[in-house]
């Protein structure tokens, strides 16, 4: 994973949404001065209209925006299954508002004017969160593709093995011989690229968890 981090460090993008051009420019300049790639938007609508970059990213979001507020935008993103981390910046540091934003999963809530280091730290943290999230999503995608290559019988056996049954019990459940189960299991492990039984169980668990929350697409 650390290799991947190094690879896409240059491509990580910070998306800045603030309706005030001066504030927006200042934030962009600050982020660029530390070598951070940045894209800025004047409104929630402009942000939603833009293509989401295929790179680790986070949003620096002003709470007070014309039309849809920053908090509305955060809600929209979550509802659409977009897990991009959000850092809020707000001119009026309303405690209730900040608590609400943090509960909805914001990484940080900064009152304007903020210290540059506070914003940079928050951006750093948010990008880390996003990187981890992207790695996990990529792994899950790969496992899902691998699972597609399993035959129905192999899938059945993977599910039973993952639920903790021994080969003999699996054989009894499916009314087949233990030898057949062993052969299928070896096939499953090979196709799923699992190096050990515990790894296979873990992969099966993650896939099951993912199947239960189908809206959490990348």
């Amino acid at each position: 994973m650390s290799d991947e981090t190094q690879d896409d460090e240059e491509q990580a993008v910070v998306l800045v949404v603030d309706d005030d051009a001066s504030v927006r420019d200042a934030i962009v300049s600050l982020l660029e001065s530390v070598g951070q790639k940045t894209v800025a938007f004047p409104s929630a609508a402009a942000f939603l209209a833009a293509e989401c970059p295929d790179a680790p990213c986070c949003v620096v979001l002003d709470v007070r925006l014309p039309a849809r507020s920053g908090l509305d935008l955060q809600r929209d993103l979550r509802a659409a299954g977009n897990q991009t981390p959000v850092i809020f910046i707000s001119g009026h540091a309303d405690v209730a508002m900040a608590v609400g934003a943090m509960k909805a999963g914001a990484v940080e809530f900064l009152a304007k004017p903020f210290r540059d280091q506070d914003l940079l730290d928050a951006v750093h943290r948010a990008l880390d969160v996003d990187r981890t999230r992207r790695c996990e999503a990529a792994a899950l995608d790969r496992w899902r593709r691998l699972r597609e290559s399993l035959s129905p019988r192999e899938r059945e056996i993977m599910a039973l093995v993952a639920s903790g049954l021994a080969n003999k019990e699996v054989a009894a459940t499916l009314s087949i011989s233990e030898i057949t189960v062993k052969t299928h299991r070896a096939q499953v492990m090979r196709k799923m690229e699992a190096r050990s039984l515990p790894e296979l169980v873990r992969i099966a668990d993650r896939l099951a968890a993912r199947d239960e929350a189908p809206d959490a697409s990348v």
């Binding site: 005030d20 001066s22 504030v23 300049s29 660029e32 001065s33 001119g91 004017p113 903020f114 540059d116």
Partner: protein, 493 residues
Amino acid sequence: MAVVAPVASIQLDIIAPLLPAYVAVVLMFDVFTATLLISQYVAVGAPALLALAAAYLFNGFTAVAWAASFPGVLAPEGLLGGDLQTTAVIAAFRRLAFPLGLLAYALLRRRADAPEVWRPWSPTTAVATVVVSALAALIVTGAAGGLSTIVPKLMVDARVPTAAWDFVLWAGIAATLVAAVAIARLRPFCVLDLWLLVALAAFLVEIAMLGFLADGVRLSVAWGAGRLFGLVAVAVVALALLVDTVVATARSVSKLAAEVQARRAREASLEALGAAIAHELNQPLTAIVTSAEAAGRWLDRGNPDLLRARERLAAIGAEGARAGRVLDGLRRSFGRGPSRDGLVDAGSLLASVAALARAEAAGARVAIDRGAATGLRVRGDADQLRQAVLNLVVNAIEAMALTPGGRRIVTLSARAEGAACVLSVSDAGPGLPPALLDMPAGPFQSEKPRGMGLGLMIARTIVEGHGGRIMAANRPEGGAVFEIALPRGNDNV
């Protein structure tokens, strides 16, 4: 009177047995009236009301003594061990005491200025009024027997009075007329005064019927009818007070509610305004802070990017100018600009401040005392100066939250000091901490959750805008005093 006249002097045996019931009703109405008057005194703090209460209490108490000593009512020769004259002496005192009490009320009312300002009531004075009335009634009752041996005889027999009674009769009429005139000339003339006049009229009719129609002869038809007018005299004020109290309570409750609501609305709009200003200024401020930090980072790079740093510095300049424009716009939207060369009468300025702070003062049980009009005038904008003084008064009221009830007084005064007119606001609170005494230049620190700092700051801005000064000091007798020195205008003398 016309109805009674033909049968005026017929004696009715039925009247004597009714006397105790009559006296009981009179006493009840008198005590009732006095109670209402004393509670009005508690609410309004006008001592004149206590004179009225005393008159009614005395009237009620002596009515009991009068009936008790009346021959043939409770005992053949009357109770209290008096002789024939005792009852008449008591009656003579009652004739005179009631109108004199009302006269005392009228005189006290004239002395009290500024009736619109709440004054603290004194429990001692209220209790003393009751005690003195009761004592006076006791003394008159006790001394009546003794007095009757000194003064000329008032009664020929148990029913018929002597010529000396005529003197009492005319003195009573004179006192009633004098009291009526004094009350009629009271300004402002309130509802209570009107009903006091009605009571005096009924009292006059009573005297006339007893004295002329019945020729003073007791227990005659005219005498009994006259007593009924006496009842009217005591009842009318009680009922009027009751109605007045209910109406006034309802009115003041709704008025106070309206004042509180207006104040809240003003505070809410101020809060919204403050939030708007804060936001308008916060944006350029954020851009400035972040740009300055970004510029530093561009310069700190291994390979300093002067162009980007320069661009940020330009942004800082532009944002500073933008903040300035925000403030300018604010000033223009509020600034029809005070007309600071207007002439403002110091007395009416303080009066309007006292009126504006009335609800707040009444709520905090604080009296506002302002000295007599001086005719002094200051140069400036009346609205702004009123606001400045009002802020000081509101602070003074709040400063006395822990001061004992009787001492909660805000004193407003104006005096000349060379070319300046000094308006002073003093309280009896705990005084000011040393840090506040020399009126530091920055925003005032406040230990209270809301306000003291901002109110003072606004007051100072206004006063200094008028070329004046604000000074704060602690009074030697305790409490703080704030003084506003303003340029004097041509005095209104």
